[in-house]
Symmetry: C2
Subunit: 413 residues, 2 copies
Amino acid sequence: MKIVDVVVTPIAFRDPPLLNATGVHEPLALRCVVQLHLDDGTIGLGESPGGRAETDRLIAAAEAVRGLDVFATNAARQAVHDALRPTVPRIEDRDGAWAPLEVACLDAQGRLMERPVCDLLGGPVRDSVPFSGYLFYKWSEHPALDGRPAIADEWGEVLDPDGVVAQARRMIELYGFRSLKLKGGVRPPDEEVAAVRALHDAFPQLPLRIDPNAAWTVETSRHVAREVEGFLAYLEDPTGGIAGMGEVARATAVPLATNMVVSNLEHIRPALEHSAVQVLLLDHHLWGGLRRSRGLALFCEALSIGVSMHSNSHLGISLAAMTHLAASVPHLTYACDTHYPWNAPDDVVRSGALRFVDGSVPVPTGPGLGVELDHEVLDRLHRVYLASGRDRRDDTGYMRRIDPAYDPALPRW
Amino acid sequence: MKIVDVVVTPIAFRDPPLLNATGVHEPLALRCVVQLHLDDGTIGLGESPGGRAETDRLIAAAEAVRGLDVFATNAARQAVHDALRPTVPRIEDRDGAWAPLEVACLDAQGRLMERPVCDLLGGPVRDSVPFSGYLFYKWSEHPALDGRPAIADEWGEVLDPDGVVAQARRMIELYGFRSLKLKGGVRPPDEEVAAVRALHDAFPQLPLRIDPNAAWTVETSRHVAREVEGFLAYLEDPTGGIAGMGEVARATAVPLATNMVVSNLEHIRPALEHSAVQVLLLDHHLWGGLRRSRGLALFCEALSIGVSMHSNSHLGISLAAMTHLAASVPHLTYACDTHYPWNAPDDVVRSGALRFVDGSVPVPTGPGLGVELDHEVLDRLHRVYLASGRDRRDDTGYMRRIDPAYDPALPRW
């Protein structure tokens, strides 16, 4: 069954003004949707981070898989790497271009065989996948800019511990999350410690984590680790670099998690040598697809490294893929991350297949990923992308337009 | 698609008097054949090491998977481990009981979907899989014993370098092998060094390896390593234990390979800490099936550890499974081992699907494993098993019946 065409559609969808260590989410998040066509008419779906560079790489990768058998994903990945290697030096970027194609191949395989994607990964070990409520410091609105009026959202401003707890409460009411993650690196570290402490006081049963995206020095990270030891499930990327993470790890019993310092196979050996990572966040978008991510989880099992899952702003195709992957991983030791609640209103998949029940997403049972594309929404989001003139994610540039004094240099504290 | 029945058939087949570090192969090798029946009549095949304990574990494992979906292999493995854990403490033994069931599930899945098993592992990255010619010191015959007459074979006696070279020459003529492995641990180390040196002189283009199965001390291993440095591709399990392997590794540039000191996930961390292993031999029979073995190969890729494949005496179901696995592993850095040429005359699969071309086995293209069971042969080999009264492999016991002074203690030199 041959791949005869791959349609790559760059899209843009609404995103609230969520704050992080490098700035603030822009009003539109960028993403690509892949429709992979087989010679019998079967179509497989994939989703990836967007922007001009990402779209161009994905189109080049798509060109490399045209004509290949949809089951030949090992060879197709090699073809993509071979095609991109001369111009795309980073492994993550090449695997990032391949990943949505692998997902689309598996979706198409599943449709052909009338089996869910999860079954192509050895089948589910759980019927639903636990996700954590992803909490953000945020503004009440995207400020008026360039003649565009302000864009408010229903979640309001969150800049202090009370706001974080209120956001968590609402997230839990809406989705039933049974663990919580705070995106940190925004407020001074002691304020963020106060916020996770307030979360712990409000929800003493829920596992908590904080992710400042390497905004802290080793010394600050050690200080925070001392403050949160005993009630934080893990501390994610407190500081930058494998050596720095290792220094922090040696000073605390709080497990350190990462999606930043270990993002391709070459990072694994130094991470082990520095004992820098106790929890690895899978991300099939970064690691070249679902099957390689499963292999990575086995690796973590071998080394008694915990496993969670990373998320960027994403829509339902990615959520379905993440759910099928996580359902198939026996050694999933923490709830997965997802931005989905922040972006679901603009989802490109037809509603019905994906929902949260007690903070978990039941594994879609339909063939393939189990989701269907809403072509009207896809067309609309593609037009939004074209009209936006945007070509890359730029949280820092956006922040600086509003606060020209903003300094994105890290570590900040 | 449910598993409704699993038929486990213990068999015994002819084996030449091949010598190794713990004795000599008996006239009959023991193996199990699995026929896994689905509710629609589809049957999947698997093969595993045999003997009473192995058969009993496999029957218990089969009981644990009955009623499960054939695609739910992750959950089925867990069910097998749960069922066996109370009475089977070794991970390898539990995964060894599960492995032929996983292969049978994948064979059945492939038949259902009319795709080769390789495609369930991401598809082939090579059309045929290179194997090495597996050379053995051997007797000319199984001596007369217990009123049974002597059993000669066409390969004759091999006890010195000339014999090893002659055996290699014949292996290459028959099968076209482009690399060679000598089972060592039989003759004094300097004689074995002379044998691999003679091989190198006779076949200077062919990668060579020797496997004494931990028959040597660290000191002897270092001595041998010095002798073979520069012309041996790798040295397999020269000495026992991870620490000992690490000591040898530090003294030589010859890569050390193993299937002995790293045989389950728990061995990986200490092996890394001791830098004890530069080449890992995959064995799906030991590591819980084809998908976990692929994950292990990814792990090796991550750590720049070479990958080859281990073999015990086996028949065509295992050869097909090994070939599908190896075809799907991009990071296969050496030709695989196989005993198949020694045992092929008693194969339980119908001839035609498996053949060697220039030392490589073309990946079977039929659905599933691509091999069919020869029920007449299976019945015959099962009767041979029953009549043999044998319940376990005992190379040492057999050797001692012929040479009562034989001391199997290792290291021997």
